[in-house]
Amino acid sequence: MSAQSPSALTKTLREFCAGLLDEGRVDVVVGFGRGTLPLRSTPVFARNPDDASRLIFDATCENNLSVFVPKLKDKRIAVVAKGCDSRWLNQYILERQTEGERLYVIGVRCQGVIDRKKLDAYLGSRRLLEGRLEEIRGQGECGEGLEGEGAGGTGGVEGAGGVKGAEGVEGARPGPGVSVSDGHIKWHLEGNDAEGRPWAASLDFEDLLSDSCKVCVKKGPVYADVVIGENGETVKGNGETAKGPEREPSFDDVKEVEGASIEERWKAFRSEVSKCIRCYACRQACPGCYCKECFVDRSAPRWIGGSDDETDTMVFHLMRAMHLAGRCVDCGACVRACPMGVDLGLLNRKLQKDGWVLFHHIAGFEREGKPLFGTFLPDDPNDFIL
């Protein structure tokens, strides 16, 4: 992102996917296309080379596309995958929901995606008619973000391919994408206000960034058949998966809440879930919620009631989070899908923290073996058992 505009990536993406489809190497490419509203994307299912011209990739690509994999009947599926999408693709293989051979992972290095609710909060009564990312080219500062990646512009890509430097990259520096938070990329917004007068504004990239992206531990794919870099270059993957996160996960937000009294936490949880209308957009947006029948929908036995009763809603949220324990990759797709602004992220991240602190486990980095909750070792920590 630091040196060239995202359209270089998009251009290569289109050409590459058209080629894949033309050669019949995959039956469908699941990717993103331009949405119908400013700063919105929409999932695209490209099944012939022409469809590939609709593909894009940029910071508006907010969905976790791996969610579509279990639903697709196509024999061979290519997925345009950010770090978190690729982690769920791994997780699907680990959980035996699909075979690795069926998937072709087109990795893209992601700088983070937009949270539309933050945009709405900013807009207030203003209407947004146009929005785009603008690169503010600095002189020399860009180099900073590339340090430690070794090979300049492509360094991040090699790392992202799952070989070199994929794990333990220079502490907290997530790679080239970081330059955006140094103020090199801005959201340019335009529209009219409640009285019809035009306005325009420029916001820092971080201002509209999804919370989960701020703490992302792997901006590039953990496994990829090919990686398309920010400058539009393609690098073949080597068929290996990254060994671990590229920076130590931080759980400051969780720790802050853990510091509060049990009454305060209870109050905060109640007020958070009180917004929920039980539309299940969070569940449907999550790749992990692939159960044929969700516990909330079950009628015999009936686990929870169907009304907006507070207790039932709390049970839904606790159970949903627990069912994702050791599996959630913190992609934030659930949070972004929620129309009511319920912050599901905190519960998700509490469980991730427990996984990390107790078992040094972080989901989505393995294609083989057993899921966290599928393993039991006699010396597992068990202090929490009363």
Binding site: L37, K117, G124, R126, L129, S307, P339
Partner: protein, 445 residues
């Protein structure tokens, strides 16, 4: 009283006065950053003691200072908990500012057809009669189900009000009148607020609506911007009565000297606002929806549905937030008050509820896989294809066939909140185009 003009600074006093006679509902600041979430009860502030600065003076200073959207945003963005709380407890002074945001997240239907509504209570331990010998079942109407105090809604958008005329066809149908809905409709006066600048997702004219439409409204208010020398810092609301109930409401306000009649220039300003809004919204409209049924009737098996549904996640964001969607499911729930405290029940009910339950009517959605799941395990709408098709067919074909109106008012909520940007306006235009190619006729033939 046919029309009344109040200053925006007086809005709080007007609502407070109304609160003496009605329960007043206003669009509520969002629980999330990003606009009002629904309608909430207006809580009047205590009036200042005589001699203290009057409400309008106090309001004006607050309003001037919070007029800038950036002030509202500061500290509320970033997804911070503190920020959210702040938005949640926005003072009433900021209401005129909030009213300019186009739509609440949750639609107006919630005040008439709530998310969950107890429709029956029962007690199975012999209390309250039962068999008369301490055993048996008693059935009662939960308290608080049928509204007591009459209500006023202030600030509903014309599309939301129009949605009530759609819901009326279902719930106020002569053959199957729904007492719960009807009683709420009857005791609610709706003051609408015309849309000076429609949102980019608005398409009411394609469904027969208008940014200043009056369907379903008792009063339509115009948001008149402040003009130099008109003595207001924020401008005025000009309220025009649509129904007799609306006239009575305005009469009540004018008796309290809370406004004045409009001048001729005010009337011209209203016309100008209407024209500007119509021109603005005309730019991005999809095809007109009122003749879509003709096409839809012929494309039940068209391959279009297979591509359309593919990205749909199957949630209920589009249907729960839709002001015209009216599907419900009835479930039996334990009375939460009874089970927790053994004392008084918040959902209504007897004083000594034990072993009691409530029958609750909940919103349901045709986008859920279990919506049409039969007891046998068979599901006539087994995949997303049938479900997305149902949503479109119902809104633009079945409903018009059965009730003579499209079941969409063009509010754009489903456009805005769909997590995958499945845009109903695009669907409408695609279908219209299918009709144009004659595909509908050829398929049905």
């Amino acid at each position: 009283m046919a029309a009344l003009k109040i200053t925006k600074m007086a809005l709080n006093s007007v609502l407070a006065l109304m609160s003496e006679r009605w329960d007043v509902f206003v669009p509520s600041p969002s629980p999330a950053p990003g606009g009002p979430s629904g309608f909430r009860l207006f809580e009047p502030r205590p009036m200042p003691a005589p001699g203290k600065p009057g409400p309008s003076e106090r309001d004006s200073s607050v309003n001037r200072q919070t007029c800038d959207e950036d002030t509202l945003w500061n500290g509320t963005g970033q997804g911070g908990q503190k920020g959210r709380d702040r938005e949640n407890h926005l003072p009433e002074e900021r209401l005129p500012q909030f009213l300019r945001r186009v739509l609440t997240v949750k639609p107006l239907k919630e005040l008439f057809f709530p998310r969950s509504e107890p429709i029956l209570g029962y007690c199975v331990d012999g209390a309250f009669g039962g068999n008369g010998d301490g055993t048996g079942v008693s059935v009662f109407m939960p308290e608080g189900v049928l509204p007591g105090k009459p209500r006023v809604v202030f600030g509903a958008r014309p599309c939301d009000a129009a949605s009530l005329t759609v819901l009326d066809r279902v719930f106020a149908d002569e053959a199957y009148p729904d007492d719960f809905y009807i009683s709420r409709r009857k005791n609610t006066i709706i003051v609408g607020l015309g849309c000076n600048v429609p949102a980019p997702t608005c398409f009411c004219p394609a469904t027969g609506g208008d940014p200043f439409g009056t369907a379903g409204l008792d009063v339509l208010a115009y948001d008149l911007p402040a003009l130099d020398g008109d003595g207001s810092s924020q401008g005025h609301y000009l309220m025009k009565a649509v129904t007799r109930e609306g006239e009575a409401l305005l009469g009540f306000l004018s008796e309290a000297h809370l406004g004045e009649g409009p001048s001729e220039s005010d009337e011209r300003a209203c016309m100008a606002l209407e024209e500007r809004a119509r021109k603005a919204i005309a730019a991005g409209l999809p095809a007109d929806t009122q003749s879509l049924g003709r096409v839809l009737g012929g494309i039940f098996n068209h391959p279009y549905w297979a591509t359309l549904h593919e990205k749909c996640l199957g949630c209920a964001a589009c249907t729960y937030l839709c002001p015209t969607c009216h599907c419900f499911d009835i479930s039996e729930e334990p009375d939460p008050g009874a089970s927790r405290s053994g004392g008084e029940s918040p959902k209504g009910g007897p004083e000594r509820p034990r072993l009691t339950g409530v029958r609750v009517r909940n919103w349901d959605s045709c986008m859920f896989p279990i919506f049409t799941l039969h007891t046998s395990g068979h599901n006539p709408r087994p995949t997303g294809l049938e479900r997305v098709r149902q949503r479109v067919m119902h809104k633009f074909y079945y409903f018009p066939e059965n009730f003579g109106a499209v079941a969409c008012v063009g509010c754009g909520r489903c456009v805005k909140y769909c997590p995958v940007n499945l845009d109903i306006r695009e669907v409408i235009s695609h279908i219209a185009a299918l009709g144009g190619t004659g595909v509908a006729e050829s398929i049905s033939a």
